[in-house]
């Protein structure tokens, strides 16, 4: 017995005429639930490119919590033998437990004239400057959700697209990011200051129905 279905419904093969489809499209629009986009008419992959320009940025420096967790934690004295190179965040960070918050404006063109939406990247940092990141890409046709990991100084990164809503309902795939400009002015000498997350990027999406 599958009791999760108590107030739900399950469909396998249902036919309908064009009038019903037209009516349903209107109803679905009212309910805010979009039908999968045009690409969803088959399992064929769709590719597209948008350009990201950094908007807002934030950083959660958990230095005090990290220090408190040494020897005062439920996992034992795991810190023994683990030596962080330095607690100087500006030169050697991000350290485990830190969080980076980055938002972007998205454009359809490389000259950043035609808006395409917005994106957010939230990275929880672990060891070796590497963050595990969640991403949300809010585009005109819907929203794509992604996840992945990359070192703070990596010149490129790739995320898995794990799902979507609206026109991207149930989409999977991948997004590859590369920088489209040089270094951030005035950031020379800092370890992570040239991070891709702070620079304009070209985002190449390949998505397909799950």
């Amino acid at each position: 017995m599958d009791s999760d279905r108590s107030e739900g419904s399950r469909c396998h093969r249902v036919g309908m005429d064009r009038v019903a489809i037209a009516f349903a499209v209107g109803v679905i629009g009212l309910l805010g639930l979009a039908v999968p986009c045009g690409a969803a008419s088959s399992r064929k992959a769709t590719t597209f490119v948008v350009y990201a320009v950094p908007d807002q940025r934030g950083f959660v420096n958990n230095a005090d919590d990290r220090q408190r967790g040494k020897g005062n934690n439920p996992f034992g004295n795991y810190h023994v033998g683990v030596q962080l190179p330095s607690a100087v965040e500006t030169k050697y960070g991000p350290f485990p437990g830190d969080v980076g918050l980055f938002t972007y404006k998205l454009y359809t063109d490389a000259s950043h004239r035609s808006g395409a939406g917005s994106a957010v990247l939230i990275c929880q940092y672990g060891f070796d400057l590497t963050g595990v990141c969640d991403a949300s890409y809010q585009l005109a046709g819907g929203t794509l959700i992604g996840t992945g990991s990359f070192p703070a100084k990596a010149p490129t990164y790739s995320f898995e697209i794990t799902g979507g809503v609206g026109g991207y309902l149930a989409m999977k795939g991948r997004v590859n990011s590369v920088r489209t400009s040089g270094q951030v002015p005035g950031s020379a000498g800092l370890i992570a200051a040239n991070s891709l997350v702070l620079e304009p990027q070209r985002l190449a999406f390949t998505v397909h129905p799950a």
Partner: protein, 172 residues
């Protein structure tokens, strides 16, 4: 009329699923009530991060640290647990759910959610706004009966202040 409209909606979604080569389409409505809430006011870590970070930027701090007036602030976190029910009256338990939300700018958060139902777990994630009455999460996976499931969960405010209506659209 409403029943007819609902049937047509489900029929169209099923039609779309069939066209996509999806073998199974399921619509599921559940109801939730908030069980526990834990908020992490990371104001000290946020203030430190404004000036002491590895990315070489200096941010302006929040106008006030009073979370109850202007929060949540970027960097705050919130954890929620929910009881799930299959009926709007909250009489028939259907499982539990947990939410983990990381707040960023303008009171927005990225939340990951796990819905632990009787025949498996549904995992979802997405952005939501602190004051929103409804939002939609993308289903990113699942376990048990929900292995390899994709789709979306539309979450709307319920009849009482701490309840929600959850509409799952699940495709395999």
């Amino acid at each position: 009329m409403l029943t007819g409209a609902l049937f047509v909606v489900l029929a169209l979604l099923a039609h779309g699923a069939q066209a996509r080569g999806v073998s199974d389409f399921r619509s599921l409505t559940l109801y939730s009530t908030v069980n526990k809430v834990q908020f992490l006011a990371n104001v000290d870590d946020e203030a430190r991060g404004y000036v002491d970070n590895p990315f070489g930027f200096h941010s302006k701090g929040a106008a006030t640290s009073k979370e109850d007036q202007n929060g949540p602030f970027p960097g705050d976190e919130a954890f929620f647990s929910f009881h799930l029910y299959s009926d709007a009256a909250h009489h028939k338990p259907a499982g539990v759910a947990i939410f983990s939300c990381q707040y960023y700018f303008n009171r927005n958060a990225f939340c990951t959610a796990s819905y632990q139902l009787k025949s498996g777990n549904v995992i979802a994630g997405g952005a939501s706004q602190f004051n929103a009455n409804n939002f939609t999460l993308a289903v990113t996976g699942g376990t048990g009966a929900y292995t390899n499931t994709a789709g979306a969960i539309e979450i709307t405010e319920g009849s009482s202040g701490n309840s929600q209506r959850l509409r799952f659209v699940l495709l395999k």
